[in-house]
Amino acid sequence: MNKTSTACRIEVLVDLPLLRRIKEISTEVGNPGYTVLPTLEGAGHSGIWFDERVSGGAGSRVIFLTITSDEKADQFVTALEPLLESHGLIVTRSTVDVIRSERFQ
């Protein structure tokens, strides 16, 4: 049976125009693996938004998902900090079991 071990799952809800930066930051801390998920709409302190695309993605958000080790997760979150406050990112972190954990170091 495949070796199962735990890893850290991070989700960042991010404005589409900012996605490129998040990818760069993740890669810079040595964590090149990620998957981007679409979203449809949402609401928060700054009101309701919905993905209408005509306004060039300004109103669109996506989820940047990465599975990584605890250390790299810490580094990534630390590197994200300046953007966190300024751009209102939402970051959640949880522990998941992964198979073939060597892929997520």
Binding site: D15, L16, P17, L18, R21, S46, G47, I48, W49, F50, D51, E52, R53, V54, S55, G56, G57, A58, G59, P82, L83, S86, H87, G88
Partner: protein, 321 residues
């Protein structure tokens, strides 16, 4: 009046009313985006073909300079009014101001349709002016935000140069400019075989797009929590003033009635594509609900329903046909 009963405008009104009545009518985002790309390609091609026929004239240079000038002075003026009368903070005032300095492709397209219907087609090169006017206001807006707030705003997201590059290479600018150049290369003959898509179908597709714009405008309006009466007032005042300045400058540099009106429409319109995307990056503290509501939900409908006609009348009267 007659203009208000054109199918393009009626579909806009239908969308607006439907969303206001909280109907669940909606156009898939992929379709909206696809149509918006189509409109840019079509308008770019048409402009290029017109220029290929008539050649670059002196008018192009004057119009281009006039356009760039407008897109620099408008945000300055708007910024101070927004800060004082509009009671916005520096960041929001700068972000909104940038929108008014830039342009709205669909307002332009609708204007050209109406002008052409009235026998006043603008020169083909006005499309190039449109493309030129998309970006400068963004730079002015960022300049205003950083000089008046006294702090560097966007350090976290990369240098200003990078932002500029991204804005200049914004999809809509590239597609518009690229299609314009393609139009110039292929000319009227090369266009014939693709005309059924880019010409005959244009108005019908524009109807569907304006239906969507109506839906989006009304929804934005309903969800705009930070929109004060003063800001609503400004979102109507700005296009009138800017359109007026546009007519003035267009007349001064010697454009014909159609092109003058087109310049006025560009001045009066507010961006909702390139600028919002840039502002989300560079001025993230600015309220996107606010600037999209002003630009998309008030100024856009105002221009489409009334502004275009006003600027046409004004230009006809000033230049005198």
């Amino acid at each position: 009046m007659e203009t208000l009963l054109s199918p393009v405008i009626l579909f806009f009104v239908l969308g607006f009313l439907a969303a206001f009545a909280r109907s669940d009518l909606s156009i898939p985002e992929a379709i909206s985006k696809g149509i918006s790309l189509y409109l840019m390609a079509a308008i770019g091609l048409k402009g290029g073909i017109l220029v290929a026929e008539s050649g670059f004239s002196q008018g192009l240079v004057s119009a281009a300079l006039a356009g760039i000038l407008l897109s620099i002075i408008i945000p300055f003026m708007a910024f101070f009014v927004l800060k004082s009368f509009g009671r916005l903070d520096v960041t929001n005032a700068a972000a909104v101001a940038a929108h008014y300095g830039s342009v709205s492709v669909v307002t332009y397209v609708t204007g050209v349709e109406i002008l052409t219907g009235n026998g006043l087609p603008p020169e083909g090169y006005m499309v190039a002016v449109l493309a030129l006017m998309e970006t400068p206001a963004i730079i002015v807006g960022l300049y205003l935000a950083s000089s008046y707030s006294g702090k560097q705003q966007n350090s976290a997201v990369g240098s200003r140069g990078e932002l500029l590059r991204e804005t200049l290479l914004n999809g809509s600018v590239v597609l518009l400019t690229g299609s314009f150049i393609i139009g110039m290369i292929i000319g009227k003959d090369g266009f014939a075989s693709i005309a059924p898509v880019f010409e005959s179908a244009f108005r019908g597709i524009l109807c569907l797009f304006l239906l969507d714009m109506g839906l989006i405008a009304a929804r934005r309006l309903q969800q705009a929590r930070s929109l004060t009466p003063r800001l609503v007032f400004l979102a109507i005042l700005f296009p009138i003033i800017n359109g007026f300045i546009g007519v003035l400058i267009g007349t001064l540099v010697g454009l014909d009635v159609g092109s003058t009106t087109a310049l006025a429409i560009l001045a009066a319109s507010a961006s909702y594509i390139a600028v919002p995307a840039a502002m989300r990056l560079a001025l993230p503290k600015a309220d996107s609900g606010l600037y999209l509501a002003m630009s998309l939900a008030i100024t856009f409908p105002f221009n489409v329903l009334f502004g275009i006609n006003i600027y046409t009348q004004l230009a006809s009267w000033m230049i005198g046909t």
